[in-house]
């Protein structure tokens, strides 16, 4: 039994272990290629580790407190335009890269959010986050940011509708990894 666990653990992390070995070896031989890769990795790792655990804890807390009926009523199958507005607002208030949206999508799904709204949420999350928008306006100007938002909005709402139609009779579920 222990062996199996050990094997499983190792296989999931095998890539990470190899990467670590690669960094050690190239450091030992003083190859300068690893320096930049290592710096990149720590940059992304620190970005991930400073927000993802909190995001998951929030998801867990939300999970134990918020009843399914409430969520279902607001963003479930019968929620209509109001539901769309709710998930977009939720997405706008968040921060972090797209992969941070997946656990939230899982939770929303579990609590009865409709397929359409799940995918609208996934579209709004990376494109309409307020912290990101302020950044965008600063670097590319208000006009660009405004137009991009204006065109992006109907597109990912449409994607939500397409995904809903596509997955209608397919017993789709969002899994907990």
């Amino acid at each position: 039994m222990k062996k199996i666990i050990k094997k499983l653990g190792l296989s999931e992390y095998i890539f990470v272990v190899l990467f670590g070995l690669f960094l050690l070896i190239s450091r030992h031989f003083n190859l300068n290629l690893s320096g930049k890769i290592e710096r990149n990795f720590w940059l992304f790792f620190s970005e991930m580790i400073t927000f993802l655990p909190f995001m998951f804890i929030l998801v867990g807390i939300f999970d134990v407190w918020v009843p399914r009926e409430k969520v279902e009523k607001h963003i479930g199958r019968e929620s209509g335009i109001k539901g769309i507005v709710w998930v977009i607002l939720l997405a706008m208030l968040q921060a972090g890269p797209l992969y941070g949206a997946f656990p939230v999508a899982y939770l929303l799904w579990k609590k009865g959010c409709s397929i359409r709204n799940i995918f609208i949420y996934l579209g709004a999350f990376p494109t309409l986050k307020i912290p990101m928008l302020t950044f965008e306006i600063g670097f590319l100007g208000l006009k660009f940011s405004f137009l991009r938002t204006l065109f992006t909005l109907p597109i990912f709402i449409l994607i939500g509708f397409i995904m809903e139609a596509y997955l209608k009779n397919k017993q789709f579920q969002v899994k907990q990894p």
Binding site: F15, T127, I162, K175
Partner: protein, 156 residues
């Protein structure tokens, strides 16, 4: 980031006051999910680090600066879909691209694919939605990004 920390802290405190057992169950649930996804997440971070080493910012500037029109859009869409550059790097990079003469149209395609399409994050995404659905979502977002770029090109 700090906001998230504050919100989490406040939620935890309120939750603890109301029901400590339930709170602990919630935290456990959340951390469990985190631990389960961690290996895939680390793999993605490694892929991205290696990718950005192989294709540094200067290369992206050179590629996107080269083409205009259809060719430029295809290059921007391709590079944007594959790379996973965090916003705090992507926007300064986009502003450099703008100054070096890249059109708004191409920038919009690049930025939108960067945000909505993630080829390198597919291993993580497919753990939640399944591989096929993830591919469909990414493909639709890819098409959407090109439409958004073309529309922006009409106005800017």
């Amino acid at each position: 980031m700090i906001l998230l920390l504050i919100i989490t802290a406040i939620a935890l405190i309120i939750s603890f006051i109301l029901d400590s057992k339930r709170t602990i169950a919630g935290i456990k649930k959340g951390l469990n999910m985190f631990v389960n996804i961690l290996p895939s997440m680390l793999n993605v971070l490694i892929l991205v680090s290696v990718f950005l080493y192989l294709v540094p910012n200067e290369t992206i500037v050179r590629w996107l600066g080269k083409g205009s029109g259809l060719k430029g859009i295809s290059i921007a869409a391709g590079v944007g879909s594959i790379s996973l550059i965090p916003g705090f790097i992507a926007y300064p990079l986009a502003s450099i691209l703008l100054k070096s003469g890249v059109s708004y149209e191409i920038l919009a395609v690049f930025i939108t694919t960067l945000m909505m399409v993630g080829v390198l994050t597919l291993p993580v995404e497919s753990k939640y939605f399944g591989l096929k659905v993830s591919i469909v979502r990414n493909f639709l977002s890819f098409l959407g990004a090109i439409i958004i770029g073309l529309l922006i090109g009409l106005f800017l």
